[in-house]
Every structure is written in C-alpha cells, then in structure tokens.
C-alpha cells in the first residue's frame, strides 16, 4: 500500500466557551489516498467543517484544545510552526467554502484575488501571476476569462464565483482540495455543474478531494469513500456502495431516507430524522445518536459503540448485531426503492 496522502489519527477539537466545553470534534480517524475523493456527510454541528478547518490550520491551538495527529505527506501538521503551515496552506492543501457570495473579497478584482494566491507561494512577476489567474479561470469554464479577471466579485453570479474560488484553490496545483459544502448556497442546476467541474479538475490536477456536505444525495456520484459524522464522531465509514446500498448505521439510514426522490409517489412524504442534533456541550452518554434512534437498546444509553469494521473496509459504530442491521436495512431502508 502506498503512503496515505492524509492520515488523521484520533483528532479532537474542543472549544472552551462560557457555557462549557464544546466537543466539536471528538476523536476521529481516517486516511485519504492520493487522488481519492472522500465525502464527509453529517448535519450542521456534526464537526465536519471544524475537523477540516483544523487540518488546514485555520483553527489553531490558541482558539481550541486540539489533540491527535494530522499527517500530511508524512508531516504532522499539528506540530508544524505557523510559518511552515502557511506555506502548505493554499499551495499543497487548499479549501473552498460554502458561500461563494461572501467568500471573495468585495473590494478586489477576481483576477487579483487569484494572482495574490499565486504570488504568495511562487516567486513570479505580477504579469505572470495574472496570466496564471486568467488561465485558471479558463480552466474552470469561465467564458472570456481575461475580461472576467478584471471584474469584481459582485459582477459574477453565484456559480461563477464558486468557479472562481475553485480556480483560486487549484491555482497552485495542490495535492488536496477540501470543498466545504461547495454547492449548498447554489441553485440546483448549478450544483451538478460545480461537482462535475471538481471531478474533472481532480483528474487534470491529480489531486485528492474532500467534499464536505450535509446531503448524501449530492455526493453519491462523486465520492470514492464516505465518512458519516454525528456529534463530533465518525459513525460510519465505507466506500460509496457500502454507504448507499449496505449502510450499517441507523443515522445513515435516516440520511438516506431523507433524500428527496423524483421517482417516489407524489403523496409520499419526506422522512426527516426525528429530533435535533445534540448539543456538543452535553453530548448524550453512550451512543450520541441514541435519543433519536428508533432501534435504541439499553446498552446504547451507557456504552459508546466503537467504529468497528464489519467487512474489511466498511465500518459502523452501532451496537446492533450484524444480522439485525442487515434485516432492518433490507426490510425498512431499501424497501423504499
């Protein structure tokens, strides 16, 4: 096996607040191979964004209590000095964000914002950086890129801005692109375009990609492996097929059932997961999902289930027996399709 590009070991990110300790990320481990696409799925507040902001070094130890290890190409990013981390950030790992309307600086031209990223990490002239920025805008499918580069973000549509963000993120040919809810703020018609674009550029730039989303439906076609997060923990991990057709966790089942389907009977209602995500200050004891779980057992209230692989790669953190999981999956979850 090759060395993983990114290997996160037992990462915890806890924010001390006046109300108590917010356990935003509470012990997650995963790894990512070069060129792989990982989908990270969970509700708001499940710790998915926080864990990757920590990987980026955008949440640092002066803001939160961070433990664990984040190996990127063999280096533990959490132990790197600020300066060295800055050289990696934006160049070897880059990130795009949820809301392209607010993620670009309103007072600077789009081309300038991209060439600034280039000039931060490469010793090139302004003109060369500008040319690179235009070239990147062309690659992300923006028409008339040389004219567009001279425009301001407010002259771009939402989809175009997200393309510009992607251009900025890929301008230094990073090994890892983290896309934090890249399509959430966009029109449905544009969402697929952006995800296809990420797919295509991933091939072209040979980068690994992490797509963070709350919508299992969005990542279905685009991810090799999927990690489902709940209350700061990974509750299920597997490849795309494992998650969509053989999920072993009641929370994932809930997410699957809540995907709106075109082929469903129009009278059929959506099935939201009952209840609300738990407070990250008072996380329920045992399995954090147990107050909302329809299959809850006594053991779930006291003992935290480990994320155990059931068959090789695929792992789920749930106390239900494998037989029960298979039965429920067959009878209740997949029966819809």
């Amino acid at each position: 096996m090759t060395e993983p590009l990114l290997e996160v070991k037992d990462l915890t990110v806890h924010f001390p607040t006046e109300d108590g300790l917010v356990k935003a990320v509470d012990g997650i481990s995963f790894s990512l191979e070069p060129g792989e696409t990982l989908g990270v799925v969970g509700e708001s507040g499940s710790g998915k964004s926080v864990s990757f902001l920590t990987v980026m070094g955008l949440i640092r130890s002066d803001q939160a209590v961070i433990t664990g290890e984040v190996f990127f190409q063999g280096q533990d990013l959490l132990k790197l000095p600020v300066e060295e981390m800055r050289n990696i950030r934006g160049a070897r790992i880059s990130m795009i964000f949820q809301d392209p309307m607010t993620s670009l600086h309103p007072y600077y031209k789009v081309g300038t914002q991209i060439s600034e990223a280039v000039r931060t990490h490469q010793k090139v002239s302004k003109q060369e950086a500008h040319d690179q920025a235009v070239e990147m805008l062309r690659k992300v499918g923006i028409p008339k890129p040389d004219e567009r580069a001279k425009q301001y973000p407010h002259e771009f549509s939402g989809g175009m801005r997200q393309r510009a963000m992607i251009a900025m993120a890929l301008s230094l040919n990073p090994d890892l692109l983290i896309a934090d809810e890249p399509t959430t703020a966009l029109d449905v018609t544009v969402q697929a375009q952006i995800l296809d674009l990420i797919d295509r550029l991933k091939q072209e730039f040979n980068a690994a990609v992490v797509i963070i989303t709350h919508d299992l439906g969005v990542v279905a076609e685009h991810c090799d492996t999927i990690q489902v997060m709940y209350a700061g923990k990974a509750v299920e991990f597997g490849d795309r097929h494992d998650i969509y057709y053989g999920s072993h966790h009641p929370y994932t089942w809930g997410l699957l059932r809540s995907i709106a389907r075109l082929d469903a009977d129009s009278n059929e209602r959506l099935h939201p997961i009952k209840g609300l995500p738990p407070s990250l200050i008072n996380v329920p004891p045992g399995c954090a999902f147990h107050p909302r779980c329809p299959y809850v057992m006594d053991i779930c209230r006291t003992e935290t289930p480990a994320l155990l692989p059931s068959d090789g790669h695929h792992a789920a953190a749930c106390h239900l027996s494998l037989a029960d999981k298979e039965r429920i999956l067959k009878e209740e979850v997949m029966s819809r399709s």
């Binding site: 980026m56 950030r89 934006g90 607010t102 600086h105 007072y107 600034e116 990223a117 407010h154 963000m165």
Partner: protein, 324 residues
C-alpha cells in the same frame, strides 16, 4: 457622472435654500419679541429709537421682501454675494464677509489639525484593540474610548488648561493675539491644546468605530479565504481586513470635518480662538441676524459639499457603488 453631479448640485442648492429660509423664520418670527429690541439689547430705548433701528435694517418692510434681500445676498455672484448693504453686523456695521474671511483660517486650522490628531490616534488604537482583542492594550484602549466619549469638551478643555498651561506651563493658554500670523500661532503651539481638546472625543469615537468595524470584518468569510490562501496574518489584516473596515470610516470622516469647519463653537469659545464658531455665538447673542444667516448657510454649505465629496470618493473605494 456628469448628470449625477448636475442633479446633486441642484439638490444642494435646494437644501441651502431651505436652510436659509428656516434660519430666517426661526430668527425673525419664532422667538417672542422684536428683533429690533433684541438688537438694542438692554439699553433703555424709546419707541422712536426702535423705529429708527427697524428702518435702518429693513425690519419695517414686508417679511417676504426682507427674506428676498437676504436670499439675494447668498447668490454666489460678484456684487451680490454677502453684499455689504445687507450682510453687515447689525451691532457694529462690520461686513459679514469680512468677519468670515478673517475668521475662517482659524477654524480651518483648528478643524484640520484636530482631524489629523483624531485620525492618527483613533486609527492605530482601534486597529491594535481589534487585533489584540481582550488583551491589556485592548482594555486600555476601550477605557480611553469610554472616557473620551463621556468627557465633555468644555470640561476637558479646562482640565487641560489647568495642567498644561497653569500648573506645568508647557503650553500657551487661551487666545490668539490679533495680527499674529497663522504660521506663527501654530509654531508657538497656540493650537496644540485646542486640537487635543477638540480631537479627544472624536478620537475615542473613531477608536471604537474602527475596532468594531475591523472585528466585524475579520469574521467575514473572505477573511477566512484570505487565510486559506496562505497569506501572512499581517497581510490578511492590513490588506484584506482594513480595506473593508476603513472604507465606511471615509464617510464619517468627511462629514465630521465638514461639521467642524462650520465652527467648533465650544472649543473656540473656551480657548478664545477668533473663528467661525465664536462669531456664530456672538451673532446669536448680539441679535445680529446677517451674521447668523451667513455662518449658518456657510456651515450647511460645508456639509452638503462634504456629502457630495464623500459619495463620489466612496464610489471609487467600493466597486459595488455606482452613480445612479
């Protein structure tokens, strides 16, 4: 742009017209009593004397004719503008234009100096307070700001005079001798205490505003983007943060300077600086309507001009703003 400026200019003229009309009505009609009697002051006056005063300054004419004479004197045209037949001080016959021209340099010196002081103090303290939030520097800065916005100028001015002039004798006290050149007055430090006293409240206000703006900006998504690009924190703050945080300050600054140019009444009075503000006060107390009219319209003129300038400048600073 051209059409925009024409429309704005017409609007400015309308505003100034309304200001002059209201000034006239408020002075002539609203207070109980007779302008002529107010002008005569406490002197014992006979009805004949009052009648003479009235006739001399045109108070016996119909109201509209009176306003018309004053309005005509506001038209910026040689021979009309602040003409001496109408715009002269009722008390001592000195033309209002002469008063304004001789006093304006003092007010300009006072205002611009104070503006420089409060920017030079307010911006750095505001920035440092925002960057080092909750640090000792921030707390000290905020205590300074609290004192600054709470301390009245007249109190602060006397306090400063007491310590720096009376006790320590570091700086000159009040007053500017007539005939002394402006350069000499400045060189002798006559303006230092007035600048500081006038700037103190503004500095405190700007400190808080800049701190608040910068803190708000630093939590924006595009700041996170800037950090994600791998920019140094210094560049994130000074290139991306300040650019957005300081732009709204331009508006405030323009209007504040314009207000000061209209006369810093209290500061000029306490330090006995012969500026526009002092003349405003003298005119009001002396029942000198032409003076009141002149300085009021002048102050309004500074405000509307500053408004226009600020809007034009803003369109250069913020690409989202266009002239419409």
């Amino acid at each position: 742009m051209g059409r925009y400026l024409i429309r704005r200019t017409l609007f400015m003229i309308l505003v100034l017209f309304i200001v002059s009309l209201f000034t006239f009505i408020i002075f002539m009609k609203l207070p109980a009593g007779d302008p002529a009697r107010r002008l005569a002051g406490s002197r014992a006056t006979t009805p004949q004397e009052l009648e003479t005063i009235r006739h001399n300054i045109g108070l016996d004419e119909p109201l509209l004719v009176q306003y018309g004479r004053f309005a005509k004197g506001l038209i910026p045209w040689p021979g009309l503008f602040l003409n001496k037949q109408v715009y002269f001080s009722w008390a001592n016959n000195v033309p209002v234009s002469e008063e304004i021209y001789s006093r304006l340099p003092y007010t300009i010196t006072l205002s611009l100096g104070a503006a420089a002081v409060f920017l030079l103090v307010g911006i750095p303290i505001g920035i440092v307070s925002a960057i080092k939030r909750r640090s000792f520097v921030d707390r000290a800065g905020m205590v300074f700001a609290l004192i600054g916005v709470s301390a009245p100028v007249f109190w602060l001015a006397y306090l400063m005079l007491y310590f720096f002039w009376f006790k320590l004798a570091w700086l000159p006290g009040i007053g500017v001798p007539p005939g002394e050149s402006m350069v000499k007055s400045i060189a002798l430090g006559r303006f230092i205490l007035p600048w500081l006293a006038l700037a103190f409240t503004f500095a405190a206000f700007y400190t808080r505003m800049i701190r608040g703006n910068l803190l708000e900006t630093m939590s924006e998504d595009y700041i996170r983007t800037a950090r994600a690009k791998g920019l140094s924190e210094r560049r994130v703050i000074f290139k991306h943060g300040l650019r957005a945080a300081l732009t709204p300050v331009v508006t405030m600054f323009g209007l504040d300077v314009a207000t000061l140019l209209g006369g810093a009444v209290i500061t000029e009075t306490v330090f006995n600086i012969p500026g526009i503000g002092q003349y405003t006060l003298l005119s009001i107390f002396g029942g000198n309507f032409p003076g009141v009219m002149g300085v009021t319209v002048l102050a309004a003129f500074f405000i509307v001009i500053a408004n226009l300038l600020v809007d034009v400048v803003y369109a250069f600073l913020d690409p989202r703003v266009r002239y419409t």
